[in-house]
């Protein structure tokens, strides 16, 4: 029994990697090879798909646009969620429980419900087709999530820490930046991971709120696929490249992720 225990995770991971392998392998094939013959690995190995992406501005700008709004959203969500989570974890105030639940309800709102009103709202305030619009729109689900996780982390920090600091003459701002934030650094890392993740993978709102200038990579992919027929090799290469930033981020938080899950609530 004990010796076969590794089998289940291994099979599971192989199952996870199989579609990814297929995508990566297709990205090195020509579209003719994909459609013409079936092979487990590329027969005529080609880098042309990647060369197209790296030399064509409509492609590589898509990556820049996506990364821009994701980073803006992550920074914004975390910086406003920090004081709010502190308030929820330390103080009782008028309507606190209702406010907390109201925040969470926004995590439950289907983006499809908001697609059209968001389009009208952001057009009205003149932010349509800018990364700022997407970054702000993604706050709808990322801020509640960030507050929720951070509140969990902060509740794990004993209140004596705050009280000692105030006795020592620290002001609130000074204490918060110099002592409290470093204490929950792991939690902030986890929150940033989740904000990055949910903003990076979301497409419906990102696509609705942009048209040309700020078009995210995911939207570039769907449009290219539909206009020039089946450019499958190119599509696979673009897909492969979207996995890389995520893999990079996971690698950085790998030590904290399990601990973060345990302390926080996600």
């Amino acid at each position: 029994m004990k010796n076969t225990k590794w089998l289940a995770p291994t099979i599971y991971i192989l199952f996870l990697l199989l579609p990814i392998y297929w995508l990566v392998s297709m990205s090195f094939k020509t579209t003719n090879e994909i459609l013409g013959s079936f092979s487990l690995w590329p027969q005529e190995f080609t880098l042309n798909n990647y060369i197209t992406i790296f030399t064509d501005p409509t492609w590589y700008n898509g990556y820049f646009n996506s990364l821009t709004y994701v980073m803006m959203n992550t920074l914004l969500s975390v910086s406003v969620a920090l004081p709010a989570a502190y308030a929820f974890s330390r103080y009782r105030f008028l309507g606190d429980k209702h406010l907390f639940f109201w925040l969470l309800t926004n995590r439950m709102a289907p983006p499809a419900v908001f697609a059209l009103p968001f389009f009208q709202l952001y057009s009205a305030v003149g932010l349509f087709d800018t990364p700022i619009a997407v970054a702000l729109a993604h706050c709808l689900f990322n801020i509640p999530l960030a507050v929720w996780i951070l509140e969990g982390f902060m509740s794990g920090v004993p209140k004596e820490l705050d009280e000692t600091a105030y006795v020592d003459g620290y002001s609130f701002v000074h204490f918060f930046i110099k002592i409290f934030i470093p204490t929950i650094a792991a939690g902030i890392g986890v929150v940033m991971f989740f904000c990055f993740m949910f903003s990076w993978v979301e497409l419906l709102l990102a696509k609705t709120l942009t048209s040309v200038v700020a078009k995210p990579i995911a939207a570039t992919m769907t449009r290219t696929a539909s206009t020039s027929g089946y450019e499958l090799g190119l599509l696979a290469a673009a897909g492969t490249l979207t996995i890389i930033p995520g893999a990079f981020v996971i690698y950085f938080v790998r030590h904290h992720i399990a601990k973060g899950f345990a302390l926080g609530r996600v």
Binding site: I34, A112, I257
Partner: protein, 288 residues
């Protein structure tokens, strides 16, 4: 639990969050409510219609069918992903270098944009060019998810299991790693069976994270749009048209603002109600 002091000034700390979320939530929600009670024939001319759209949606067979598909889909994926996730978390190594490797590889599907997930599964499952399609047909089954409703459901569910089981694994694993070794030693001394270790030590410790996992999987699968849309386009026919896909079809495809808005509100209320039940149960658990 920290015992909290009453301090109304704490409102200043939550103010930025409230402003940002309210901007994104209240204004669009008001727009939706506004549309849901009006009729328009274009040119920005609106007529008040009361609850007509709500009655129409609640009585429409199309909505019932999408809702039923949505509930079945969410039910099936919860029944597969939660037990599977727990089983894999139990089988994972507890320490050593393999833990990081497992966690990183398992988290990978979570960070792939949703339309890429759909596109990836599309080219993976197509019967002519996909590895999965070739394999299943090679085993003697007639499988083509673009033609057969059953195959479309199978592929959509398999895709969701592939995509999200890791979230349950990570959460369950986190719950498990918070159990001190002493518990297991005590169980070994008592000669407890693997089942009773699971039932009386591991399961209670995982209770909280599992509630969160179920809540998140419930909400997200209920809102699912991009992945099945890219994979099957809601087809063949309407067989994989879930609520969000149907809603976008009505709102952006047919531009029926009134019915779409009414459907949005009903949809949102269903999620809200079910999530509220989960949330209350969860909070009650935490207070114990």
């Amino acid at each position: 639990m920290i015992d909290k002091t009453t301090n109304q000034k704490a409102w200043f700390l939550v103010l930025p969050v409230v402003v940002l979320v309210a901007f994104n939530a209240l204004i669009p929600l008001m727009t939706v409510v506004n549309y849901s009670v009006q009729e328009t024939f274009g040119n920005n001319v609106f007529f008040f219609e009361g609850v007509k759209w709500f009655e129409q949606i609640l009585h429409s067979e199309r909505f019932h069918a999408s809702l039923l598909r949505q509930l079945s889909f969410t039910g099936i994926i919860l029944l597969i992903e939660v037990p599977l996730g727990v089983a894999i978390a139990l089988a994972m190594p507890k320490k050593g270098p393999w833990v990081s490797v497992c966690l990183v590889l398992m988290a990978l599907p979570l960070l792939i944009p949703w339309n890429v997930v759909g596109a990836m599964w599309n080219i993976f499952a197509l019967p002519e060019i996909g590895l999965l399609g070739k394999m299943i047909n090679g085993l003697g089954f007639d499988y083509n998810f673009t033609q057969q409703p059953l195959a479309a459901w199978f592929t959509t569910i398999l895709m969701d299991v592939w995509h999200w089981t890791s979230l349950v694994v990570l959460l369950a694993y986190a719950g498990l790693s918070s159990i001190p070794d002493a518990y297991y030693q005590a169980a070994r001394i008592d000669g407890a069976s693997a089942w009773s270790v699971f039932r009386y030590i591991q399961l209670p410790k995982m209770k909280r994270v599992l509630t969160i996992a179920i809540l998140l999987r419930f909400m997200d699968s209920f809102m699912i749009y991009t992945e099945p849309f890219v994979l099957t386009g809601g087809g063949p026919g309407n067989t994989t048209t879930f609520l969000s896909i149907d809603l976008v079809k009505i709102a952006l495809g047919q531009f029926d603002l009134g019915p779409a808005a009414a459907m949005s509100l009903i949809y949102f209320l269903i999620i809200l109600l079910l999530s509220w039940i989960f949330y209350t149960l969860m909070m009650r658990n935490e207070e114990k």
